[in-house]
Amino acid sequence: MMHIHRLEKIWLTFGMAMLAVFLLILGLSAFTMGMDTPNSGHDHSVHAAKLSETPPFDHPAITQIGDREYEAVMTAWAFGYSPDQDQLVVPAGSTVHFSVTSSDVVHGFEIPGTNVNMMVLPGEVNHVSHKFDEPGEYLILCNEYCGIGHQAMFTKLIVT
């Protein structure tokens, strides 16, 4: 096999060892500490064109499911989100589990300043959870181009 210069061997060995350690940490934190990418299952579950007759997306809403724990069932559409902004209110310290799907094209779902950031595809449901400690108005915006009104596609979550 090829001969490799000694210094280069040290450089490559060190580099690859660091890489292995890094990937191990990344993998462990993803799979054992719940820091995973969004949507841990894969469902192919909904029919985008029939959302209005598919529970729970026929009635997008935010509901309390435990002590300071909420489930937000939401739909994204060109160019906005359901339910209406006046319903998106939770008390500080709440954890919100978002389930989002699209009734038309691909959209984004991002809350700047948090790690909430995921793609919303028609036909698929994406999930992400976040604990809102600080009271305030949280901007929820679409970060995937979806048409002429893309820059106007946003809503707000109010943490009281």
């Binding site: 280069e8 894969h42 991002e110 995921m118 970060n143 893309h150």
Partner: protein
Amino acid sequence: MNPTFDRKDGRLVLAHLLFAYVALLLGGVCGMLQSMVKSGSITLPANIGYYELLTAHGVLMALVFTTFFIIGFLYSGISRTLGGSLTGVSRSLGWIGFTLMAAGTVLGVIMILLNKATVLYTFYAPLKASPWFYIALVLLVVGSWLSGYGIFAQYRTWRKANTGKLSPLLAFMAVVTMLLWQIATLGVAATVLLQFIPWSFGWVETINVLLSRTLFWYFGHPLVYFWLMPAYMCWYVIVPKIIGGKIYSDALARLAFILLLLFSIPVGFHHQLMEPGIAPFWKFLQVVLTFMVIVPSLITAFSLFATFELNGRARGATGLFGWLKKLPWKDVRFFAPFMGMLVFIPAGAGGIINASNQMNAVVHNTLWVTGHFHLTVATSVALTFFGIGYWLIPVVTGRRLTKRLNNLGIIQVVTWCIGMLFMSGSMHITGLFGDPRRTDYTTYNDSPESILWMPYHVAMAVGGIILFISLIVLLAAVVGLLLAPRGVEEYPIGEVIDTAEKTPKLFERWGLWIGVSAALILIAYTIPLADMITGGTGSPGYKFW
């Protein structure tokens, strides 16, 4: 070797380069306008939409400028190193490829300007453009395939005439790059031919969105290596000659290219980390494969700096960094690609962050990502290409890079770096605050977050204007080169250091590498793809613009 470049081949190369520069200039106009719109400095005249501009910019820059320049450069390399001129077959294939790609570009740009294809360069379904836009993409891709066959044909002819000999490094690299391209474009060809075209003509009602995205990104990541590998060719083979040094190791260079081929394709999921419908295991597997490209990157960094240092020491440099002083800083043929290499260090580090599985949530679809690829492709790769153009145009036209043109080139490179520092720098910072990419001017009803982003958008616009000035300087330099005094300019091709070890024959066992590549692709994609094909629901098309 004959000092003059084959005239007929020269015309083919020049056609590609000039087409690329025109695309770059038009794309640059769009880019500057985008940055001004985003900062709220201007509003576009009634008929032009921001997203129309952005589609044109993405297509002209990422697909047209790069592909034309690369194919022109690769053809120059094989003409030069594989026999001194192209065979009739290769040259014809080159011209047919050029014609198809040019036709595709013109058709695509017309569709975009008519506002019939405002779907951005990634054309994500179920936004539905005119079928002619997708046909334009087919022409572009099929043209590039034919050009690739021309390169393979030239290589085969040379191998037959030189049995048992090691192929020239530059030609080997050109073949690997084109091989990567052939394998990678299968994904985009599949989605366009089997999904988008039947659907956009109305022959089928719906499209499987997740499948189309996955096939796109199967292509989309190796696409960036298709841009990068020609830049590496310059760094490995051309730059050592320009600085008067030698190539550190032929074998390591080939190893790096083979590793890039293997590990840049089965990794598209790192663009879909935030997406539903793909199990986390498969995402993570592809993340691990993604990180394997760090190995050839480490090899490259080592080899390049070894070349610089050994060369400097041979010229009497002392101390840890004395060799830096021995580099030809005032030679644009060196300065441009060297700045490209330098920028690639932070750019690569940014890429590692993007691909880090769950960490992607921090930056996904924010301007950070846009900032990232304006460092990688629009600086590292683009500067290297500019550097190549400064000697390649004179080489193929039989003219000389004069001192004045060289200095103009240096100014162009410096302004490009300054412009990018402003534009890409502020994109990175504001992206970390969550500022979304691909978005027209907006403050989300005066939301406080987005008001804070605006100063960065202003800095982006300043950068955009400086970049455009750099393009004007480039235009002047290219025109200058076309009118430069006749003469002979060197095609710089480095030689390998005498003490380097022999290159193993293994590297040219193409069947083996294609086999390994196919196996990795099958491992990474079979199960998730099968799942998407059987499980997905279809979407009708939408025209929301």
